[in-house]
């Protein structure tokens, strides 16, 4: 809790002693953190260290084995919902809809109804909103293309636009740029940072790339095992070994943390 002493506001997310295990295999152990509204948290760590598991708990597709996660003081819903948007590394958009339809679908899903199709005035309003957000992410030239005609970066822009039109308060990003070229990745970083500031989102981003973790966001979590038993490595789960405020720090501290963590990328798979 002391990490967030800087701000007086009540935390948006409270993680209380969360464990996750599959049979004997402990993935996460004893997680205790709080996150305030508007933070941009990046989660790094080795493969299989539980960072994606934690993200899925926030998403609602995975439930903790022990402990609880509170969202605004309430237990976080155990299924995905419109308050938490998600962008996956792939399969995030609907292949049978054009770019415009993909984004308009968000508006259709928000109206209560059987089919999620829009008609008449709702439809033209949704089209307007969709075009506006596609403008914002730079996809206005590809409105009538199908996802398979888009490049990897454009697909992720589309996935982000789709998620944001749902006006989520939390945006979850599961290695969203892992498959992209470095140049395009930089563009995407800028896009995400701009949207985060503009829409005052709370963002959780899982990444393999430690640099990305440092460059983006206000807070960096490193997931790793706290204890090691060489005979039975599955008996101990991972926890958050570093919880660092980043972004606003000056260059020397940045360098110091960077040096501290330097060995990490070598055992990243």
């Amino acid at each position: 809790m002391s990490v967030n002493a800087i701000s007086e506001q009540t935390p948006m997310i409270e993680v209380n002693n969360v464990w996750k295990q599959y049979d004997d295999n402990v993935v996460l152990e004893g997680l205790n953190v709080t996150v305030n509204e508007g933070e941009f948290v990046t989660l790094v760590g080795t493969s299989g260290c539980g960072k994606s598991t934690f993200l899925n708990m926030l998403l609602g597709t995975v439930q903790p084995s022990k402990g609880e996660i509170l969202l605004n003081g309430q237990t976080i819903p155990s299924e995905p919902g419109p308050d938490r948007g998600i962008v996956f590394q792939q399969y995030s958009v609907f292949p049978h809809m054009t770019v415009l339809e993909n984004v308009m679908a968000t508006k259709g899903f928000q109206r209560k109804g059987m089919s999620g199709y829009l008609f008449g005035q709702n439809r033209s309003q949704a089209r307007k909103d969709a075009q506006q957000i596609l403008d914002q992410v730079g996809l206005n030239h590809a409105l009538n293309k199908y996802p398979h005609e888009l490049s990897g970066g454009m697909k992720q822009r589309l996935a982000i636009a789709q998620a944001l039109l749902g006006r989520p308060r939390i945006l979850l990003l599961d290695e969203p740029f892992g498959a992209l070229d470095p140049g395009i990745r930089a563009d995407m970083h800028e896009l995400v940072l701009n949207l985060w500031k503009e829409l005052k989102l709370t963002v959780f981003m899982v990444t393999h790339d430690l640099k990305e973790g440092f460059y983006l966001g206000t807070r960096l979590w490193v997931f790793d095992k706290l204890r090691h038993d060489p005979q039975a490595p599955h008996l101990y789960g991972a926890g958050i070994t570093y919880d660092l405020p980043v972004g606003k720090m000056d260059q020397s501290i940045y360098q110091q943390i960077d040096d501290n963590l330097r060995p990490l990328p070598e055992h990243v798979a």
Binding site: L59, P82, F88, S92, H96, G108, F109, Y146
Partner: protein, 273 residues
């Protein structure tokens, strides 16, 4: 010389290779037919092409002496309407059952094992039951086709529904979608082209059940006619009927494939998100 596995025919050679077996078969038939007719001009087993043409004219272009109808066309219409009805019912049922079991674990739990057992019942073995329950009219034939291919379509659609990445279903929920919206807006459109493919694959079995049902109890239809004229060894009618059924099957298959490409361009181009 390249290895055999790397050798591909060019365009001309390919066309030649496509036509070659058909031409050889026709030549073989003509030669055999001629040889037999030379020995016995009244031989019925391998009629000449002119005899077959006579047979076709008699069935298709001259009204029947008994009923005044053009039998060939009437048979075609009856058979196609039975097949169409049966396949349509099977497609609708298969789509609903397949999607429900593929998308909703609570329904899959009791429907999937049931479906597996039902799909193992040989449809022809229950044909007598259908005749007893539904009578000898159109209904029992349509039901046989529907019963015969619904389990196949349902299981195929179930698998196709499960193949759709879970990420899409999670994503739709984070956009606010409820269960029926996900099924109608996300799953159904992606399963539709697979449904047409499943129908194409099941049409062979559909024809089988149609002809079997017509052979056993009917008053018209392509299968009925073939089995009727068998009594007179009328190969000059049987052979063109078989060729016509083959052509219809081929034509329906091509038409469905083109319909698929037209209706679902994203699928034809390999859209996988």
């Amino acid at each position: 010389m390249k290895k055999l596995i790397n050798q591909k025919p060019n365009k001309t050679l390919k066309l030649f290779l496509v036509l070659l077996p058909f031409v050889l078969l026709i030549i073989l038939y003509m030669a055999s037919s001629e040889a037999r007719l030379e020995i016995n001009p009244n031989d019925k087993l391998l009629p000449s092409f002119s005899q077959i043409a006579d047979g076709i004219t008699r069935m298709a272009f001259e009204p029947s002496k008994r009923s005044g109808e053009y039998l060939f066309w009437q048979d075609t219409a009856s058979s196609l309407s039975r097949l169409g009805m049966g396949v349509l019912i099977a497609a609708v049922l298969g789509l609903i059952v397949g999607m429900v079991t593929g998308a909703l674990p609570l329904f899959s739990a009791w429907m999937s094992p049931l479906l597996t057992v039902i799909s193992l019942i040989p449809p022809l073995a229950v044909l007598p039951v259908l005749f007893i329950v539904f009578g000898l009219g159109e209904l029992s034939k349509v039901v046989l086709i529907a019963i015969g291919i619904t389990p196949f379509i349902a299981r195929d659609i179930q698998r196709r529904t499960q193949e759709i990445p879970a990420e899409q279903i999670v994503k739709a929920q984070t956009l606010g979608a409820n269960t029926s919206q996900i099924m109608i807006r996300v799953l159904l459109p992606q399963v539709m082209p697979k449904l047409i493919d499943a129908v194409r694959l099941s049409l062979g079995a559909g024809w089988l059940f149609l002809i079997a049902a017509e052979a056993v109890a009917s008053t018209d239809g392509l299968g009925y006619r073939i089995f009727l004229v068998r009594r007179y060894m009328a190969m000059d009618v049987i052979l063109p009927y078989v060729a016509w059924i083959t052509f219809l099957a081929f034509f329906i298959d091509v038409a469905l494939r083109q319909l698929n490409q037209k209706l679902f361009p994203w699928h034809a181009q390999g859209g996988k998100s």
